[in-house]
């Protein structure tokens, strides 16, 4: 049940500081959209604004609208908990819950909701989520071992399994491979390819080859100077961005002339 996201005039603030100015873009369902740009350009902030994780930081707030299939997630009466349930997130550093086993990690989001699930149902969810994250074969015999005992790449796939276990419509990934080695990175990228058949995926990455490999649409963010807010420079099909970008600064960035 992938959903479309329409962002209109999004401004994200940290206290008085405007980190992102006037971002408007559309994220297509069942495809991968990547955000690229230099450090501090606001791509992670935009990503976190898409599931109301931005406001978790004290003093941070957002203006503008983010519509999920036409429903504004910043509308009045919208519960951020429901938004985050619908729009899942994977972080830069793998962060499995250290006190929980692999199984408990996968079920963390399920068990903590108010519904009751039967044991068989839970086992199915564990297997389905871990299979979906390409981790089932590696961990199926040690589901009761601590999640923190896995390798970095496995931990990140565990976090993806945990995120897809609650069956979100959209999956946000904030530099999911930047703490991983090339082999684990390939594993995650393969996984992203499979996941896009079911989910809308947005991925922030510093690695332009990665953006080229995994995404159908690429958005380039930039900032004029440090202290200025980040802006969306252009959003276009990935093939076009990497072959014939519309803007000069996009071309400079992807050809390695700055950033």
């Amino acid at each position: 049940m992938a959903k479309r996201i329409d962002v209109t005039n999004l401004n994200s603030y940290y206290g008085n500081f405007r980190a992102v100015a006037d971002v408007s873009l559309t994220i297509e369902p069942k495809s991968v959209t990547s955000f690229i740009g230099p450090s501090g350009c606001g791509k992670s902030t935009v990503l976190r604004s898409l599931n109301r994780m931005h406001e978790v930081i004290p003093g941070a707030y957002v203006t503008g609208s983010v519509e999920l299939d036409g429903e504004d997630i910043y509308g009045s009466g919208v519960d951020p908990v429901n938004v985050r349930r619908t729009i899942g997130m994977v972080f830069q550093r793998p962060n499995p819950f250290p006190t929980m086993s692999i199984r408990e990690n996968v079920l963390a989001g399920i068990k903590l909701d108010s519904k009751r699930h039967s044991k068989i149902e839970l086992e199915e969810i564990v297997e389905r989520s871990l299979t979906g994250a390409n981790l089932w074969k590696e961990v199926k015999d040690r589901l009761d071992r601590p999640g923190a005992g896995l390798s970095g790449g496995q931990q990140q796939r565990l976090c993806i399994a945990r995120a897809i276990a609650v069956e979100p419509d959209v999956l946000l990934m904030d530099e999911p491979c930047s703490a991983l080695d090339p082999i684990s990175t390939i594993a995650i990228e393969d996984l992203i390819h499979q996941l896009k058949d079911e989910f809308t995926i947005v991925i922030v990455t510093h690695n332009m080859q990665q953006a080229a490999r995994v995404s159908q649409t690429t958005a380039f963010f930039n900032l004029e100077a440090t202290g200025e807010p980040g802006k969306l420079i252009e959003i276009n099909p990935t093939t076009q961005i990497f072959s014939a970008p519309r803007e000069k600064s996009t071309e400079d960035y992807i050809s390695g002339r700055f950033g």
Partner: protein, 342 residues
């Protein structure tokens, strides 16, 4: 130009030889001059040792090694100076306390035992201490942990949280007798309750509270923010994030903190004298009547000052130390059990 990487070094036995010479010289000096006592001689020996070794090292190894040896010596000397009183105290309490410390001592009260005669025991005081500290823990720990949760998870630097932090700091500095006086005036004089184990527990709770708040706060701050965000991003509500993710991650440290607070108040004497006073008999009800406690037992036996009561005082002190060590050991075990495993 060839240069060797090896420099001249002192032989391995150099420190021991220097120390032996230094001790010999110090003792000789102490016998012939006015330097008196073990402490003075020890300090003198250390100084002579530093002088001999430094000069020797400076001549053979050069300046850098000489300075290194001085610093090493000073660090070891300060360690010994810090550890010596503790070891000597433990040694003293164990050797003197063990005399009447036995099963009979642990299983009898002082009811109908004359201060002049041997016999009797600490059971009534152990029961009192357990109950008073237990009730104090039941009061202070929930309040303390909830306060810390509010400060770290919810307030994040608001005005109320600054005020709470300030008053917690002030409470940390309250002398224990003042906490006892407060309960005495508020609970016993103003509200008209009797002296009881409960009154003692209230004053101990006042002393425990800031320790519990502070340690819990520190432990909660150590929980990586990543985990909170990971939980919130799964659509887990904030309160469940706190209970299921943040608290379990920090629980080992929190338990250690609570146990240290327990150990601290288990040895308090002054507030107990004001709030529950003394008793020679077992009182199983902390809500009525005076109740003994181990520290006040020691105080009471000491003030009788007969050979038999002094033996009992030392044995009581030993009981108290063992009790605190037991709490500490239990805390370590529990903390290890709950520690995140990899």
């Amino acid at each position: 130009m060839s240069q060797t990487l090896k420099g001249d070094t002192l032989p391995k036995w150099a420190p021991i030889a220097s120390l032996a010479i230094a001790i010999g010289v110090a003792i000789a000096l102490a016998n012939t001059t006015a330097v008196a006592g073990t402490a003075g001689t020890s300090v003198l020996a250390v100084l002579i040792f530093i002088a001999i070794q430094t000069l020797w090292s400076f001549a053979v190894e050069g300046r850098r090694h000489a300075v290194d040896r001085v610093a090493t010596t000073l660090i070891y000397a300060t360690f010994v100076a810090a550890a010596a009183p503790l070891l000597s105290l433990l040694f003293e309490v164990f050797t003197r306390g063990i005399k009447v410390f036995n099963l009979a001592f642990l299983s009898h009260s002082m009811r109908n035992v004359s201060p002049l005669k041997p016999g009797g025991g600490v059971l009534h005081a152990l029961i009192g201490t357990m109950q008073q500290v237990g009730v104090a823990t039941l009061i202070a720990v929930p309040i303390g942990i909830l306060t810390a949760l509010y400060l770290v998870e919810h307030a994040r630097g608001g005005r109320l949280s600054k005020a709470i932090s300030f008053f917690v700091d002030v409470m940390t500095g309250i002398p224990s007798i003042v906490a006892g006086l407060f309960i005495y005036t508020a609970w016993i004089l103003t509200l008209g309750f009797d002296r009881s184990g409960m009154a003692a527990a209230l004053s101990l709770a006042i002393l425990m509270l800031p320790v519990v708040v502070r340690t819990t706060e520190e432990m909660l701050k150590l929980v990586p923010n990543d985990l909170r965000e990971a939980s919130l991003a799964l659509g887990i509500p904030k309160w469940k994030t706190t209970i299921r993710v943040v608290l379990p991650t920090a629980i080992g440290g929190i338990i250690t903190g609570v146990m240290l607070a327990v150990a601290r108040v288990a040895g308090e004497t002054a507030p107990l004298l004001l709030t529950t006073f003394l008793s020679q008999s077992i009182n199983n009800n902390p809500f009525a009547g005076p109740q003994a406690a181990v520290p006040t037992f020691v105080w009471d036996q000491l003030s009788s000052s007969t050979p038999a009561s002094l033996d009992r005082a030392w044995a009581g002190a030993l009981t108290l130390i063992l009790l605190v060590m037991f709490f500490y050991g239990a805390a370590k075990l529990i903390a290890r059990y709950y520690a995140p495993k990899a």
